[in-house]
């Protein structure tokens, strides 16, 4: 799957410029699904990225695992979900020193959450690189009940926690690693615009 190109939008929407090798500095790499291809491309660009790399991969139904392992990073681990790999990711950040690079690749939900974790751990924003690959479903926070709904592909959508019908805003919270959804029929209860598929 090639790199996703998003249409320009309001300025709080994140941009994912793509992965560029910073050489053989200590690195943490985290990818899900088709994000594996961005890691393979990165390694093809500069093999030395793997010299001191800790690579974590969430297959999400794909079979890139063996090819990533064959890149021979210093450490390679797979996990079934971001939640399952969070403790490992946090430990890697806690043990990291200044100079460590973080490479994130895959879906917006993964990149957003991992970026928020890394910033909270003190990693400077300019040490984080990201590349979007795979589906463009969004991780949405309901601004009313604060619940998170994963993999939202339509606008509006129904909050999986409080059941309100939410308008999908382009406004992104870096702290939460999620977009924000606002009740679409607050002024006109029941008047819900036609459901559309979210476009890149």
């Amino acid at each position: 799957m090639p790199r996703t190109h998003f249409s320009p939008s309001i300025t709080t929407r994140p941009v994912y410029p793509g992965l560029t090798s910073q050489g053989a500095t200590p690195a943490i790499l985290l990818a899900d699904g088709a994000g594996a291809e961005a890691i393979l491309d990165l390694a093809a660009q500069d093999r030395s990225v793997m010299d001191r790399a800790h690579l974590m991969f969430i297959p999400a139904g794909t079979d890139f695992g063996p090819r990533l392992a064959a890149l021979n990073p210093r450490m390679y681990r797979e996990a079934p979900s971001f939640a399952a790999c969070l403790e490992r990711f946090r430990k890697a950040l806690a043990d990291a020193h200044m100079g460590t690079q973080l490479y994130l690749a895959g879906t917006e939900g993964l990149i957003g959450q991992a970026t928020a974790e890394a910033l909270a751990a003190g990693l400077p924003a300019d040490a984080i690189q990201s590349e979007h690959r795979g589906h463009i479903a969004r991780r949405m926070q309901c601004v009313h009940c604060k619940g998170m709904t994963e993999n939202v592909t339509t606008d509006p959508f129904v909050c999986s926690h409080c059941g309100l019908t939410l308008f999908v805003r382009d406004h992104f919270s870096r702290r939460l690693g999620a977009f924000q959804g606002v009740c679409v029929d607050a002024e006109t209860p029941g008047l819900i615009p036609p459901v559309q598929e979210i476009k890149p």
């Binding site: 910073q22 050489g23 500095t25 200590p26 950040l93 990291a96 020193h97 200044m98 100079g99 460590t100 690079q101 751990a121 003190g122 990693l123 400077p124 924003a125 300019d126 040490a127």
Partner: protein, 315 residues
Amino acid sequence: MSAQMLRVTAREALSPLVTRFRFEHPEGAALPLFSGGAHVVVEMPDGDVLRRNAYSLISDPLDGSGYEIAVRREDGGRGGSVFLHRQVVVGDLLRISAPLNLFALDLRAKKHVMIAGGIGITPFVAQLKQLARLQMPFELHYAARSRAEAAGLALLPDLPQIHVHISDEGNRMDLGAVLGGQPLGTHVYTCGPEGLIDAVAETAARLGWPRGALHSEVFMAPPPGTPFTVTLARSGRTVTVGAHQSLLEALEAAQVPVDWSCRGGACGRCETGVSACHGQLEHHDHWLSDDEKSSQTKIMPCVSRFRGDTLILDL
């Protein structure tokens, strides 16, 4: 810019070359508080020249009872520090600007590493007081040539986080060791000679540090050079800049108002447009980008000079 007359209430030699001065309000009024790293500009009427030098505050940022600075006597300098050392005594009144901070701590950092060379220790003296109050992790590395010259020793508390490197005693600072292995969220601050700042930037780049975690301050005195003449576009007047005078000082002496704040090429306040330039601008500031510098359409009169036939300023 706001400034007020303050009285010199103490002076003390910290080393053969460095003297501490304390200023208080003549009526005992409280002075504006500041943050660690802030400086003030001290005005010195020296005969018929008015000298203005910026000095970092070393007193407690939350103590408004007075301001303190530590001044190194630069015998080969332009005269401001020598004036303070030779002519200023307790009881004198001097005009002191309100504090301004171009070298503040980034309070988002999880740890602060401060690197000082020589008299570059001064901004850190106030920052240490601020950090102690905030209870934030820090490390300070202070490099000096010899113990006798290390005026900072008299200003620094005795803490295990403070490391003194005296090159005379064979205890040079190893930047690789200082910057290697710092936890995530560490910011580095360097103040001292340009060579030290470059060395820190180089070492940090080699270790993969992102630029946003690096901060530095060079307090540069306007460098001398060959005299030159500028023409002012609006009035058609010409102003001559002497060898040991800055363009800003020459404009001030000619009563041409130019906004300024740091007088050291760092803050950007004095930025002036160039309408014509036949010759070479000698940029010494840290404000203009490389592209702006090479386009020769802007100049920072506090530190930069000119060599060539004609220079016309948008003034």
